[in-house]
């Protein structure tokens, strides 16, 4: 079927481009399902998605691709991009070939069944009917781990899907250090809870007015006209369909303006990263950020470091005043900034502030480790969740929807995903310090419409590397060393110390 005139490298790029296109097509079907699809389209869509995944996987695990990669690896190509294409392509193909097709199919089915069981359990307010699906996902994940018999820790194989090359042995102490550093900050905030007033962002906000405001906010971020759109959905996400096509989503909650505002900035951060990937790398294994941790670093940087800054609040206020007449007349920029930085323990991860957020992750990470080290049974999970919430956040979940059933990840069989959220926060903090060192204006001139220089710095520093290195290599190259906890703790102590009066 292939043209005999092609060199190995040309043929490799051809196959990789098809693999990439099938992945992007899948991303579009996923986006469409969550933002546009008539509701009766579900059954058909599930089949279409499964087919795209299967056909893509077949290409990735094909003997032809494996032989090409073997020959090209042996050839030790001189060009660094070619060499990286072969190296990362071989990593993807090898992982695809390790896992038998039947196991993949079973995992896909169990994931889909698990999401369904999760939905039902949430509606009934009882975790019990969800436990068999959870147990099944864990069993299958154990079988998945066994396909990678060289790992040091079973959790390593899971982590690797989201944070390639990361090891439990290094993530565990890093997140433990972060947690230890957070405890006194959270305690200090809890001691003075009324220091920050978030009244300006509470109350009723017309969803249509929110939508108009959000579109103006995103238009003021450094995303080029005609390259993005934003739509409402149940659980916000961002996805990139091609170089000039980024899809953001958000949710307009009539009772809270902050949710749509900051989730939009967050998703736009993901989009800005994708837009910075060089076009010529897009259709191949290098054409994406190297890990979820790095991806999350960009969403967090725009959401928290930019979006909750003083200059940003000052530029946001006129938009809110225009779109919600009368509503913000008595609010000044500093009051808006303070409201956007309200912190304190709350039961739901996706609604948590930037300080307590990482304790939600610590809780999930510890439970996942315990599950895969065999120290915890799935049936013990709801109780263990409640206990850790009490211990880390000092609060009591009101039910399983605020407890073990609040996230879909485990229902979908995605273990090893959660720690990447905290890694993203850590990387963002390190990047912010580097930007301030390079040019303080990058971190102080953060008003809407004036963020081009920060984007350019990020493209130059991080985005243009795309997926040419493994996360740890990229950290060395970009951050000058491994991911660290201290820069994030410094940021949180400085910002929240000032707000809550503990510095």
């Amino acid at each position: 079927m292939s043209d005999p005139q092609l060199t190995d490298l040309e043929r490799l790029r051809e196959i990789q481009a098809e693999i990439s296109d099938l992945g992007r097509a899948r991303a579009l079907l996923f986006w469409d399902e969550r933002t546009q699809m008539p509701r009766a389209g579900h059954a058909g869509r599930a089949e279409q998605l499964a087919t795209l995944v299967r056909v893509r996987h077949r290409l990735l695990a094909s003997d032809e691709l494996a032989s090409l990669l073997e020959r090209l690896t042996a050839a030790e190509l001189p060009d660094s991009t070619d060499a990286a294409t072969v190296r990362m392509g071989a990593r993807d193909a090898e992982k695809a070939r390790r896992v038998p097709a039947e196991l993949r199919a079973e995992m896909a089915r169990a994931s889909s069944d698990g999401e369904h069981a999760w939905q039902l359990a949430r509606e009934s307010g009882d975790a019990a009917p969800f436990l068999p699906a959870l147990r099944r996902n864990i069993e299958l994940s154990h079988r998945y781990v066994e396909c990678f018999d060289e790992v040091d820790h079973p959790y390593d194989a899971l982590l690797d899907d989201y944070e390639p090359g990361a090891r439990t042995a290094s993530v565990k102490p890093l997140l433990a250090e972060l947690r230890a550093g957070l405890v006194p900050i959270v305690a200090a905030i809890a001691a003075n809870p009324d220091a920050v007033d978030d009244a300006p962002l509470r109350g009723r906000f017309d969803p249509l007015a929110q939508e108009r405001a959000v579109k103006r906010v995103v238009a003021g971020l450094p995303l080029a006209d005609g390259t993005w759109r934003i739509d409402p959905t149940a659980h916000p996400f961002a996805t990139s369909i091609s170089h000039g096509d980024v899809r953001l989503t958000t949710k307009y909650d009539a009772d809270r303006l902050s949710y749509a505002l900051y989730s939009s900035i967050h998703e736009a951060g993901h989009g800005i990263y994708e837009s910075g990937i060089p076009q010529e790398l897009r259709r191949g294994p290098l054409g994406r950020p190297p890990s979820l941790g790095f991806h999350e670093s960009q969403s967090r940087l725009w959401e928290n470091w930019v979006g909750r800054s003083g200059p940003f609040a000052a530029s946001l206020l006129p938009i809110l005043r225009e779109e919600m007449p009368g509503r913000f007349d008595e609010v000044d920029p500093e009051a808006l900034r303070r409201a956007s930085c309200k912190a304190g323990p709350s039961p739901i991860r996706v609604e948590a502030d930037e300080v307590t957020y990482n304790l939600h992750i610590a809780l999930r990470f510890e439970l996942e480790l315990a599950l895969f080290e065999g120290a915890l049974e799935p049936a013990e999970l709801p109780e263990a969740w409640t206990e850790l919430t009490r211990s880390y956040l000092g609060i009591e979940p009101s039910g399983v929807a605020e407890g073990v059933l609040q996230d879909v990840h485990w229902a979908a069989g995605a273990f090893g995903y959660f720690p990447t959220y905290s890694l993203g926060n850590l990387i963002a903090a390190q990047l912010w310090e580097l930007a301030a060192d390079d040019d303080p204006a990058l971190t102080t001139e953060t008003s809407l419409g004036r963020l081009g220089p920060l984007r350019e710095w990020l493209v130059e520093k991080l985005h243009h590397h795309a997926g040419t290195m493994l996360p740890a290599e990229l950290a060395d190259h970009v951050l000058g060393g491994p991911i660290e906890a201290e820069p994030l703790l410094r940021h949180l102590r400085a910002r929240y110390g000032a707000l809550y009066g503990f510095i």
Copy 2:
């Protein structure tokens, strides 16, 4: 890669389901490009679409599928659905294998280049820069025809892509008979042009009000809630993504209400047909209407026979009055019906009334035949177009955008497509007479919200057969014989004779 436990028939269905899913995924990417995509997504989308087409074609032309079909054909399966699956599947696979991959790729490129050249030529108002691309498309179509060396007439191979099994030898006299029958009707209308006043549908109409009205109209057609949506686009079309997921499109022209109204009913007709395809046939070669002609019969039936009827106008009027306050106060149902039936020569096919429409098709069909019989050079096309317009419609196109450049079909290399529009009109007329014979109420109770029985009759009569037969077989089965010109002529004489006073 395939499970050795599967029977040949099971494995056939598995491959066919993948082929179907890839086709539907492509349809969604196409729909998205025309209704949702940020404009900078074009380059990436073109690559993604090409990949889906290529991967799908590879499955369809695969040796594995060919051997399965050969064995299953020899097995003469007793079940009629199984046998039809094998027969239609073998037809699709055989056609795919006849055409070399390079020719397909060249045609795809020439089609894309042709659309681009067409766009530029339209903008410049000069057909000349478009002619090389047109010549290229014709050359490649000739090479395509040569892949099917058993055809009686070169045009047969082209026709077959849209109307499987149809022959030039039978379509030509049928459309000639239609044209001959239309001439006196058009002349009689032209003799009394002011008999019908379309003032109620002319003037300025707020596009947002049009959109609200159109959504209510489509909701009153027999499409189930949660199975469809309608979006604005440049050139309206309908597509079906899965059993419960129909996507309609329309265009809101501020100067004409009729365009959005009747194009929406037209596209909804396509959607109603797709919704009537049995779900269990969807993911395979039987899971679609057997031809474009049959597909068009349904869009036309809903647009012209239902949509331009008196009861329909009476049920439409309250919607228009509510959505466009004041605008329709002086209009009664009969005036609205008459306005919707305004006829007379006009230069643009997609804006033509149901009488002159078929003369637009006759013109294109004759020019296509002349091109493929070698009687006409591409360079002579603009002039030949003008001449035939003069001869058939008695009018002069004001420029190439109203002439040879008005449709994208030839630019995209789609020859053999146009006649299916007239075949659709003919089939619709035959079906309407059958419905009236079965139960007159089906054709007289045509108000919005009361069209369920007509849909049920069509599902029972036509839709549920899906693609189990070739169009000629389906015509025999459903219409009781071949497609005929007289029923359509009877309908046009009756309706327009009454309106224009020539009966």
